[in-house]
Amino acid sequence: MTVVGMFLGSAKSRLLPASVPFRFFVAAAVLHVVLWVAVLFAAGDFTRFRGGVGPSLAAVHLLTLGVLTMTAIGAAVQLLPVATARPLVAVWPIKAVFWLLVPGAIALIVGMYATHVGLMIAGAVASTVGLLLFAGLFVDNLRRAGSMPVVRAYGWGAFVSLVLLVALGLALSLDAEIGFLADHAGVALAHMILGSFGFMGMLALGFSHVLIPMFALSNAPKARMAQGGFAVAAATVMLGVTGALLGETMLLTAACVLGVVAASLHLRLMRVALATGMRKRLGLSFLLVRISWVLLALTPLVGLAALQGWAGPDGPTLFGLVSLGGWLLTFLLGILQRIVPFLTSMHVTRSTGGPPLLSELGASAPLTVHAVCHVVAITGLVTAIVLDSAVTAALAALVGLAGALAFATFIASILKTLASAQTRA
Protein backbone atom coordinates (compact mmCIF):
# COMPACT_ATOMS: atom_id res chain seq x y z
CA MET A 1 0.00 0.00 0.00
CA THR A 2 1.31 3.45 -0.86
CA VAL A 3 1.71 6.12 1.78
CA VAL A 4 -1.21 8.00 0.25
CA GLY A 5 -3.31 4.86 0.25
CA MET A 6 -2.43 4.23 3.86
CA PHE A 7 -3.51 7.76 4.80
CA LEU A 8 -6.72 7.36 2.89
CA GLY A 9 -7.44 4.03 4.51
CA SER A 10 -6.98 5.46 7.95
CA ALA A 11 -8.91 8.65 7.37
CA LYS A 12 -11.71 7.15 5.32
CA SER A 13 -12.56 4.84 8.17
CA ARG A 14 -14.14 7.87 9.85
CA LEU A 15 -16.58 8.19 6.97
CA LEU A 16 -19.17 5.48 7.55
CA PRO A 17 -20.96 3.81 4.64
CA ALA A 18 -23.82 6.12 3.67
CA SER A 19 -26.37 3.46 4.54
CA VAL A 20 -25.38 3.59 8.22
CA PRO A 21 -26.31 7.18 9.18
CA PHE A 22 -29.00 7.39 6.51
CA ARG A 23 -30.99 4.43 7.85
CA PHE A 24 -31.49 6.46 11.04
CA PHE A 25 -32.40 9.60 9.10
CA VAL A 26 -34.94 7.71 6.99
CA ALA A 27 -36.42 6.15 10.13
CA ALA A 28 -36.64 9.62 11.70
CA ALA A 29 -38.35 11.05 8.60
CA VAL A 30 -40.89 8.20 8.47
CA LEU A 31 -41.60 8.37 12.20
CA HIS A 32 -41.97 12.14 11.86
CA VAL A 33 -44.90 11.52 9.50
CA VAL A 34 -46.35 8.90 11.85
CA LEU A 35 -45.91 11.33 14.76
CA TRP A 36 -48.29 13.89 13.26
CA VAL A 37 -50.79 11.15 12.41
CA ALA A 38 -50.63 10.07 16.06
CA VAL A 39 -51.13 13.67 17.24
CA LEU A 40 -54.17 13.84 14.96
CA PHE A 41 -55.64 10.69 16.53
CA ALA A 42 -54.69 11.88 20.04
CA ALA A 43 -56.09 15.41 19.51
CA GLY A 44 -59.00 14.65 21.86
CA ASP A 45 -56.84 14.29 24.98
CA PHE A 46 -53.56 15.82 23.81
CA THR A 47 -54.31 19.31 25.13
CA ARG A 48 -54.77 17.99 28.68
CA PHE A 49 -52.07 15.33 28.61
CA ARG A 50 -50.32 14.84 31.96
CA GLY A 51 -48.88 11.38 31.42
CA GLY A 52 -50.38 7.92 31.55
CA VAL A 53 -50.57 5.23 28.88
CA GLY A 54 -52.60 6.08 25.77
CA PRO A 55 -52.43 7.80 22.37
CA SER A 56 -50.83 10.99 23.72
CA LEU A 57 -48.00 9.09 25.45
CA ALA A 58 -47.49 7.14 22.20
CA ALA A 59 -47.25 10.45 20.30
CA VAL A 60 -44.71 11.81 22.81
CA HIS A 61 -42.53 8.70 22.39
CA LEU A 62 -42.85 8.86 18.60
CA LEU A 63 -41.30 12.29 18.96
CA THR A 64 -38.62 11.43 21.54
CA LEU A 65 -37.63 7.83 20.87
CA GLY A 66 -38.65 8.01 17.22
CA VAL A 67 -37.73 11.31 15.59
CA LEU A 68 -35.31 12.89 18.07
CA THR A 69 -33.34 9.79 19.06
CA MET A 70 -33.04 8.42 15.50
CA THR A 71 -31.82 11.80 14.25
CA ALA A 72 -29.38 12.16 17.12
CA ILE A 73 -27.91 8.67 16.69
CA GLY A 74 -27.58 9.03 12.88
CA ALA A 75 -25.81 12.36 13.30
CA ALA A 76 -23.69 11.28 16.27
CA VAL A 77 -22.28 8.09 14.73
CA GLN A 78 -21.07 10.04 11.68
CA LEU A 79 -20.11 13.39 13.20
CA LEU A 80 -18.54 12.26 16.48
CA PRO A 81 -15.66 10.33 14.81
CA VAL A 82 -15.02 13.29 12.49
CA ALA A 83 -15.05 15.74 15.41
CA THR A 84 -12.95 13.65 17.80
CA ALA A 85 -10.63 12.34 15.03
CA ARG A 86 -11.21 8.84 16.38
CA PRO A 87 -13.02 6.21 14.30
CA LEU A 88 -15.79 4.14 15.86
CA VAL A 89 -14.57 0.78 17.08
CA ALA A 90 -16.70 -1.09 14.49
CA VAL A 91 -19.64 -0.50 12.16
CA TRP A 92 -21.71 -3.61 12.93
CA PRO A 93 -22.76 -2.48 16.43
CA ILE A 94 -24.36 0.64 14.90
CA LYS A 95 -26.41 -1.58 12.59
CA ALA A 96 -27.34 -3.71 15.60
CA VAL A 97 -28.46 -0.54 17.43
CA PHE A 98 -30.77 0.22 14.51
CA TRP A 99 -32.27 -3.27 14.37
CA LEU A 100 -32.88 -3.25 18.13
CA LEU A 101 -34.13 0.29 18.38
CA VAL A 102 -36.55 0.49 15.46
CA PRO A 103 -38.63 -2.62 16.29
CA GLY A 104 -38.26 -1.84 20.00
CA ALA A 105 -39.54 1.71 19.58
CA ILE A 106 -42.42 0.56 17.37
CA ALA A 107 -43.45 -2.14 19.88
CA LEU A 108 -43.22 0.32 22.79
CA ILE A 109 -45.23 2.99 20.97
CA VAL A 110 -47.90 0.57 19.72
CA GLY A 111 -48.07 -0.86 23.26
CA MET A 112 -48.58 2.62 24.68
CA TYR A 113 -51.20 3.49 22.07
CA ALA A 114 -53.14 0.27 22.59
CA THR A 115 -52.45 0.03 26.35
CA HIS A 116 -50.82 -3.36 25.80
CA VAL A 117 -48.43 -3.81 28.73
CA GLY A 118 -46.67 -6.90 27.33
CA LEU A 119 -45.84 -5.10 24.08
CA MET A 120 -44.67 -2.06 26.04
CA ILE A 121 -42.29 -4.14 28.17
CA ALA A 122 -40.93 -6.05 25.16
CA GLY A 123 -40.42 -2.77 23.29
CA ALA A 124 -38.83 -1.11 26.32
CA VAL A 125 -36.37 -4.02 26.74
CA ALA A 126 -35.33 -3.99 23.05
CA SER A 127 -35.03 -0.18 23.05
CA THR A 128 -33.01 -0.30 26.26
CA VAL A 129 -30.53 -2.81 24.84
CA GLY A 130 -30.24 -0.78 21.62
CA LEU A 131 -29.72 2.51 23.43
CA LEU A 132 -27.17 1.00 25.83
CA LEU A 133 -25.25 -0.44 22.87
CA PHE A 134 -25.22 3.03 21.31
CA ALA A 135 -24.15 4.49 24.65
CA GLY A 136 -21.26 2.01 24.77
CA LEU A 137 -20.06 3.00 21.27
CA PHE A 138 -20.50 6.66 22.06
CA VAL A 139 -18.59 6.57 25.33
CA ASP A 140 -15.80 4.43 23.84
CA ASN A 141 -15.22 7.12 21.23
CA LEU A 142 -15.34 9.91 23.83
CA ARG A 143 -12.89 8.00 26.03
CA ARG A 144 -10.34 7.78 23.21
CA ALA A 145 -10.74 11.43 22.13
CA GLY A 146 -7.98 13.77 23.26
CA SER A 147 -9.37 17.13 22.19
CA MET A 148 -12.49 19.24 22.65
CA PRO A 149 -12.98 18.87 26.42
CA VAL A 150 -16.28 20.77 26.45
CA VAL A 151 -17.89 18.67 23.71
CA ARG A 152 -16.64 15.56 25.50
CA ALA A 153 -18.09 16.81 28.78
CA TYR A 154 -21.49 17.27 27.14
CA GLY A 155 -21.08 13.79 25.65
CA TRP A 156 -20.43 12.29 29.08
CA GLY A 157 -23.43 14.17 30.43
CA ALA A 158 -25.58 12.74 27.65
CA PHE A 159 -24.22 9.26 28.32
CA VAL A 160 -24.99 9.32 32.04
CA SER A 161 -28.43 10.76 31.31
CA LEU A 162 -29.10 8.07 28.72
CA VAL A 163 -28.25 5.27 31.14
CA LEU A 164 -30.52 6.74 33.82
CA LEU A 165 -33.18 7.53 31.23
CA VAL A 166 -33.44 3.96 29.96
CA ALA A 167 -33.33 2.57 33.52
CA LEU A 168 -36.26 4.77 34.56
CA GLY A 169 -38.07 4.07 31.28
CA LEU A 170 -37.79 0.33 31.85
CA ALA A 171 -38.95 0.77 35.46
CA LEU A 172 -41.99 2.77 34.29
CA SER A 173 -42.90 0.05 31.78
CA LEU A 174 -42.60 -2.69 34.42
CA ASP A 175 -44.55 -0.55 36.89
CA ALA A 176 -47.50 -0.61 34.51
CA GLU A 177 -47.58 -4.40 35.05
CA ILE A 178 -46.49 -4.95 38.67
CA GLY A 179 -46.95 -1.49 40.26
CA PHE A 180 -43.81 -1.26 42.38
CA LEU A 181 -43.02 2.47 42.08
CA ALA A 182 -44.12 4.64 45.01
CA ASP A 183 -44.37 7.78 42.86
CA HIS A 184 -44.98 6.87 39.21
CA ALA A 185 -45.61 10.53 38.21
CA GLY A 186 -42.37 11.72 39.84
CA VAL A 187 -40.33 9.01 38.11
CA ALA A 188 -42.08 9.85 34.82
CA LEU A 189 -41.12 13.52 35.24
CA ALA A 190 -37.50 12.56 36.00
CA HIS A 191 -37.56 10.31 32.90
CA MET A 192 -38.86 13.26 30.84
CA ILE A 193 -36.21 15.65 32.21
CA LEU A 194 -33.43 13.11 31.56
CA GLY A 195 -34.67 12.51 28.02
CA SER A 196 -35.29 16.13 27.03
CA PHE A 197 -32.55 17.97 28.83
CA GLY A 198 -30.10 15.23 29.85
CA PHE A 199 -29.71 13.00 26.82
CA MET A 200 -31.12 15.02 23.90
CA GLY A 201 -30.40 18.43 25.42
CA MET A 202 -26.76 17.65 26.24
CA LEU A 203 -26.23 16.21 22.76
CA ALA A 204 -27.85 19.24 21.13
CA LEU A 205 -25.88 21.74 23.21
CA GLY A 206 -22.60 19.82 22.91
CA PHE A 207 -22.73 19.25 19.15
CA SER A 208 -23.76 22.90 18.70
CA HIS A 209 -20.25 23.85 19.83
CA VAL A 210 -18.95 22.12 16.68
CA LEU A 211 -21.82 22.32 14.19
CA ILE A 212 -22.79 25.97 14.52
CA PRO A 213 -19.20 27.27 14.08
CA MET A 214 -18.73 24.75 11.28
CA PHE A 215 -21.75 25.98 9.35
CA ALA A 216 -21.13 29.65 10.15
CA LEU A 217 -17.37 29.19 9.53
CA SER A 218 -16.33 30.74 12.82
CA ASN A 219 -13.87 29.74 15.51
CA ALA A 220 -14.86 27.31 18.25
CA PRO A 221 -16.56 29.02 21.23
CA LYS A 222 -14.33 30.44 23.96
CA ALA A 223 -13.36 27.61 26.26
CA ARG A 224 -14.01 29.32 29.60
CA MET A 225 -17.56 30.40 28.81
CA ALA A 226 -18.30 27.05 27.16
CA GLN A 227 -17.09 25.23 30.29
CA GLY A 228 -19.27 27.49 32.42
CA GLY A 229 -22.23 26.78 30.14
CA PHE A 230 -21.72 23.04 30.54
CA ALA A 231 -21.42 23.27 34.32
CA VAL A 232 -24.68 25.23 34.62
CA ALA A 233 -26.51 22.97 32.14
CA ALA A 234 -25.37 19.84 33.99
CA ALA A 235 -26.39 21.34 37.34
CA THR A 236 -29.80 22.21 35.88
CA VAL A 237 -30.42 18.62 34.84
CA MET A 238 -29.20 17.22 38.17
CA LEU A 239 -31.41 19.59 40.16
CA GLY A 240 -34.42 18.89 37.94
CA VAL A 241 -34.06 15.10 38.15
CA THR A 242 -33.49 15.19 41.92
CA GLY A 243 -36.46 17.51 42.39
CA ALA A 244 -38.70 15.26 40.30
CA LEU A 245 -37.66 12.08 42.12
CA LEU A 246 -38.05 13.66 45.58
CA GLY A 247 -41.20 15.58 44.63
CA GLU A 248 -39.51 18.83 45.75
CA THR A 249 -40.99 21.88 44.00
CA MET A 250 -38.21 24.03 45.45
CA LEU A 251 -35.54 22.02 43.63
CA LEU A 252 -37.56 22.04 40.40
CA THR A 253 -37.92 25.82 40.71
CA ALA A 254 -34.17 26.18 41.24
CA ALA A 255 -33.62 23.99 38.15
CA CYS A 256 -35.80 26.35 36.09
CA VAL A 257 -33.90 29.41 37.32
CA LEU A 258 -30.56 27.72 36.59
CA GLY A 259 -31.99 26.67 33.22
CA VAL A 260 -32.49 30.34 32.33
CA VAL A 261 -28.78 30.94 33.04
CA ALA A 262 -27.73 27.83 31.08
CA ALA A 263 -29.83 28.82 28.07
CA SER A 264 -28.53 32.40 28.22
CA LEU A 265 -24.89 31.28 28.28
CA HIS A 266 -25.44 28.86 25.40
CA LEU A 267 -27.28 31.41 23.30
CA ARG A 268 -24.59 34.00 23.91
CA LEU A 269 -21.93 31.55 22.67
CA MET A 270 -24.02 30.76 19.60
CA ARG A 271 -24.66 34.44 18.90
CA VAL A 272 -20.89 35.13 18.97
CA ALA A 273 -20.31 32.17 16.62
CA LEU A 274 -22.83 33.53 14.12
CA ALA A 275 -21.64 37.13 14.46
CA THR A 276 -17.98 36.25 13.87
CA GLY A 277 -18.59 33.64 11.18
CA MET A 278 -17.43 34.09 7.60
CA ARG A 279 -20.74 32.80 6.28
CA LYS A 280 -23.59 35.18 6.96
CA ARG A 281 -26.31 33.72 4.75
CA LEU A 282 -27.13 30.46 6.44
CA GLY A 283 -30.40 29.70 4.72
CA LEU A 284 -33.70 28.22 5.76
CA SER A 285 -32.20 25.62 8.09
CA PHE A 286 -30.88 28.36 10.32
CA LEU A 287 -34.24 30.07 10.41
CA LEU A 288 -35.47 26.91 12.13
CA VAL A 289 -32.38 26.84 14.34
CA ARG A 290 -32.96 30.46 15.39
CA ILE A 291 -36.63 29.72 16.14
CA SER A 292 -35.53 26.74 18.22
CA TRP A 293 -33.20 29.00 20.19
CA VAL A 294 -36.07 31.33 21.03
CA LEU A 295 -37.98 28.31 22.28
CA LEU A 296 -34.93 27.12 24.23
CA ALA A 297 -34.90 30.48 26.03
CA LEU A 298 -38.63 30.16 26.72
CA THR A 299 -38.45 26.55 27.96
CA PRO A 300 -37.24 27.19 31.55
CA LEU A 301 -39.58 30.18 31.83
CA VAL A 302 -42.57 28.07 30.78
CA GLY A 303 -41.35 25.38 33.21
CA LEU A 304 -41.26 27.93 36.01
CA ALA A 305 -44.72 29.23 35.08
CA ALA A 306 -46.06 25.66 35.04
CA LEU A 307 -44.52 24.88 38.45
CA GLN A 308 -45.87 28.00 40.07
CA GLY A 309 -49.30 27.62 38.50
CA TRP A 310 -48.94 30.86 36.51
CA ALA A 311 -49.54 29.06 33.21
CA GLY A 312 -52.91 27.66 34.26
CA PRO A 313 -53.88 24.00 34.51
CA ASP A 314 -52.32 23.20 31.13
CA GLY A 315 -48.91 24.59 32.07
CA PRO A 316 -47.18 21.15 32.27
CA THR A 317 -48.49 20.18 28.81
CA LEU A 318 -47.28 23.50 27.44
CA PHE A 319 -43.86 22.93 29.02
CA GLY A 320 -43.59 19.52 27.34
CA LEU A 321 -44.59 20.94 23.97
CA VAL A 322 -42.27 23.96 24.10
CA SER A 323 -39.25 21.89 25.16
CA LEU A 324 -39.75 18.76 23.03
CA GLY A 325 -41.70 19.97 20.00
CA GLY A 326 -40.55 23.56 20.09
CA TRP A 327 -36.89 23.61 21.01
CA LEU A 328 -35.59 20.08 20.30
CA LEU A 329 -37.67 19.05 17.28
CA THR A 330 -37.24 22.41 15.55
CA PHE A 331 -33.50 22.42 16.25
CA LEU A 332 -32.91 18.86 15.08
CA LEU A 333 -34.97 19.27 11.91
CA GLY A 334 -33.03 22.46 11.10
CA ILE A 335 -29.70 20.73 11.68
CA LEU A 336 -30.78 17.56 9.87
CA GLN A 337 -31.69 19.42 6.69
CA ARG A 338 -28.26 21.04 6.83
CA ILE A 339 -26.10 17.96 7.53
CA VAL A 340 -27.88 15.52 5.22
CA PRO A 341 -26.72 17.28 2.02
CA PHE A 342 -23.30 17.74 3.62
CA LEU A 343 -22.93 14.02 4.35
CA THR A 344 -24.31 13.14 0.92
CA SER A 345 -21.73 15.31 -0.79
CA MET A 346 -19.00 13.24 0.88
CA HIS A 347 -20.39 10.06 -0.63
CA VAL A 348 -21.31 11.28 -4.09
CA THR A 349 -18.87 12.09 -6.87
CA ARG A 350 -19.95 14.21 -9.79
CA SER A 351 -19.17 13.24 -13.38
CA THR A 352 -16.60 16.08 -13.29
CA GLY A 353 -14.72 14.25 -10.55
CA GLY A 354 -15.31 16.37 -7.44
CA PRO A 355 -18.07 16.24 -4.87
CA PRO A 356 -21.36 17.82 -5.94
CA LEU A 357 -22.16 21.36 -4.91
CA LEU A 358 -24.29 21.44 -1.79
CA SER A 359 -26.85 23.48 -3.70
CA GLU A 360 -27.24 20.60 -6.16
CA LEU A 361 -28.33 18.19 -3.46
CA GLY A 362 -31.91 17.74 -2.33
CA ALA A 363 -35.02 19.61 -3.37
CA SER A 364 -35.41 23.02 -1.72
CA ALA A 365 -39.18 23.58 -2.22
CA PRO A 366 -40.18 20.77 0.19
CA LEU A 367 -37.97 22.31 2.86
CA THR A 368 -39.76 25.64 2.51
CA VAL A 369 -43.13 23.89 2.78
CA HIS A 370 -41.88 21.95 5.80
CA ALA A 371 -40.54 25.03 7.60
CA VAL A 372 -43.78 26.96 7.19
CA CYS A 373 -45.94 23.96 8.18
CA HIS A 374 -43.74 23.12 11.17
CA VAL A 375 -43.91 26.62 12.62
CA VAL A 376 -47.67 26.84 12.00
CA ALA A 377 -48.23 23.38 13.52
CA ILE A 378 -46.25 24.08 16.69
CA THR A 379 -47.97 27.46 17.08
CA GLY A 380 -51.31 25.73 16.50
CA LEU A 381 -50.58 23.16 19.20
CA VAL A 382 -49.62 25.88 21.66
CA THR A 383 -52.92 27.63 20.86
CA ALA A 384 -54.81 24.34 21.21
CA ILE A 385 -53.35 23.76 24.68
CA VAL A 386 -54.04 27.31 25.84
CA LEU A 387 -57.63 27.20 24.51
CA ASP A 388 -58.05 23.52 25.41
CA SER A 389 -59.33 22.98 21.87
CA ALA A 390 -59.20 19.50 20.34
CA VAL A 391 -60.28 20.89 16.95
CA THR A 392 -57.34 23.31 16.89
CA ALA A 393 -55.00 20.46 17.89
CA ALA A 394 -56.37 18.32 15.04
CA LEU A 395 -55.94 21.15 12.51
CA ALA A 396 -52.40 21.77 13.77
CA ALA A 397 -51.66 18.04 13.39
CA LEU A 398 -52.88 18.13 9.78
CA VAL A 399 -50.58 21.05 9.01
CA GLY A 400 -47.73 19.26 10.79
CA LEU A 401 -48.45 16.16 8.74
CA ALA A 402 -48.19 18.16 5.51
CA GLY A 403 -44.85 19.51 6.71
CA ALA A 404 -43.59 16.05 7.67
CA LEU A 405 -44.54 14.69 4.24
CA ALA A 406 -42.64 17.57 2.63
CA PHE A 407 -39.61 16.79 4.80
CA ALA A 408 -39.83 13.11 3.84
CA THR A 409 -39.89 14.19 0.17
CA PHE A 410 -36.65 16.09 0.76
CA ILE A 411 -35.02 13.02 2.35
CA ALA A 412 -36.29 10.90 -0.57
CA SER A 413 -34.69 13.28 -3.08
CA ILE A 414 -31.39 12.95 -1.22
CA LEU A 415 -31.68 9.15 -1.22
CA LYS A 416 -32.30 9.22 -4.96
CA THR A 417 -29.06 11.18 -5.43
CA LEU A 418 -27.19 8.70 -3.25
CA ALA A 419 -28.68 5.69 -5.01
CA SER A 420 -27.89 6.99 -8.49
CA ALA A 421 -24.31 7.73 -7.42
CA GLN A 422 -23.90 4.21 -6.07
CA THR A 423 -25.35 2.77 -9.27
CA ARG A 424 -22.80 4.75 -11.31
CA ALA A 425 -20.02 3.53 -9.03
Binding site: V3, L8, S10, A11, R14, A85, L217, A220, S345, G354
Partner: protein
Amino acid sequence: MTNGTGAHDGARLWRAQDGLHIDVRGLPCPEPLVTLLRLIDGGEAGEVLLAHLSQEPLLLYPELEERGWCCRLIAASGESSPRDGDVVLKIVRSPL
Protein backbone atom coordinates in the same frame (compact mmCIF):
# COMPACT_ATOMS: atom_id res chain seq x y z
CA MET B 1 13.55 24.62 1.97
CA THR B 2 11.61 27.01 4.10
CA ASN B 3 11.53 30.77 3.88
CA GLY B 4 9.51 32.53 6.54
CA THR B 5 7.36 31.23 9.34
CA GLY B 6 4.37 32.60 11.17
CA ALA B 7 1.15 31.81 12.94
CA HIS B 8 -2.44 32.10 11.80
CA ASP B 9 -5.31 31.47 14.25
CA GLY B 10 -3.09 29.13 16.28
CA ALA B 11 -1.82 27.29 13.20
CA ARG B 12 1.81 27.23 12.04
CA LEU B 13 2.33 28.86 8.67
CA TRP B 14 5.42 28.78 6.43
CA ARG B 15 6.29 29.23 2.78
CA ALA B 16 8.33 26.63 0.87
CA GLN B 17 9.21 26.11 -2.80
CA ASP B 18 6.09 24.08 -3.41
CA GLY B 19 3.72 26.68 -1.94
CA LEU B 20 2.33 28.00 1.31
CA HIS B 21 2.21 25.39 4.09
CA ILE B 22 -0.10 25.48 7.07
CA ASP B 23 -0.12 23.03 9.97
CA VAL B 24 -3.53 22.82 11.62
CA ARG B 25 -2.92 19.55 13.44
CA GLY B 26 -4.07 19.65 17.03
CA LEU B 27 -6.64 22.39 16.52
CA PRO B 28 -10.13 21.45 17.71
CA CYS B 29 -12.94 20.88 15.20
CA PRO B 30 -13.95 23.05 13.29
CA GLU B 31 -10.85 25.27 13.61
CA PRO B 32 -8.81 23.47 10.89
CA LEU B 33 -11.65 23.95 8.40
CA VAL B 34 -12.21 27.58 9.37
CA THR B 35 -8.49 28.44 9.36
CA LEU B 36 -7.98 27.02 5.86
CA LEU B 37 -11.07 28.72 4.44
CA ARG B 38 -10.05 32.02 6.06
CA LEU B 39 -6.70 31.82 4.24
CA ILE B 40 -8.41 31.03 0.95
CA ASP B 41 -11.19 33.60 1.27
CA GLY B 42 -8.75 36.24 2.47
CA GLY B 43 -6.55 35.74 -0.60
CA GLU B 44 -3.49 34.82 1.52
CA ALA B 45 -3.34 31.27 0.20
CA GLY B 46 -2.06 32.33 -3.22
CA GLU B 47 -2.35 29.60 -5.85
CA VAL B 48 -1.16 26.55 -3.90
CA LEU B 49 -1.77 25.71 -0.26
CA LEU B 50 -0.41 22.62 1.48
CA ALA B 51 -2.39 21.82 4.59
CA HIS B 52 -1.03 19.48 7.27
CA LEU B 53 -4.00 17.89 9.03
CA SER B 54 -4.56 15.26 11.71
CA GLN B 55 -7.25 13.56 9.61
CA GLU B 56 -8.70 13.70 6.14
CA PRO B 57 -10.80 16.89 6.14
CA LEU B 58 -14.07 15.39 4.97
CA LEU B 59 -16.03 18.53 5.84
CA LEU B 60 -13.67 20.73 3.82
CA TYR B 61 -14.27 19.15 0.40
CA PRO B 62 -17.73 20.59 -0.28
CA GLU B 63 -16.52 24.02 0.88
CA LEU B 64 -13.54 23.94 -1.50
CA GLU B 65 -15.77 22.83 -4.35
CA GLU B 66 -18.15 25.72 -3.68
CA ARG B 67 -15.18 28.10 -3.98
CA GLY B 68 -13.83 26.54 -7.19
CA TRP B 69 -10.71 25.05 -5.59
CA CYS B 70 -9.41 21.51 -6.09
CA CYS B 71 -7.45 19.30 -3.75
CA ARG B 72 -5.78 15.95 -3.44
CA LEU B 73 -4.07 14.03 -0.67
CA ILE B 74 -0.30 13.76 -1.01
CA ALA B 75 2.43 12.10 1.05
CA ALA B 76 3.52 13.90 4.21
CA SER B 77 6.46 16.23 3.60
CA GLY B 78 9.83 15.71 5.22
CA GLU B 79 10.13 17.83 8.30
CA SER B 80 7.89 15.94 10.69
CA SER B 81 6.97 12.27 10.73
CA PRO B 82 3.23 11.75 10.37
CA ARG B 83 1.19 10.30 13.23
CA ASP B 84 -1.56 7.81 12.54
CA GLY B 85 -4.19 9.53 10.41
CA ASP B 86 -2.09 12.62 9.59
CA VAL B 87 -2.51 13.80 6.02
CA VAL B 88 -1.18 16.54 3.78
CA LEU B 89 -3.71 18.06 1.43
CA LYS B 90 -2.59 19.97 -1.65
CA ILE B 91 -5.16 22.65 -2.44
CA VAL B 92 -4.93 24.58 -5.70
CA ARG B 93 -7.01 27.26 -7.33
CA SER B 94 -7.12 25.62 -10.78
CA PRO B 95 -7.88 21.96 -11.57
CA LEU B 96 -5.05 19.55 -10.73
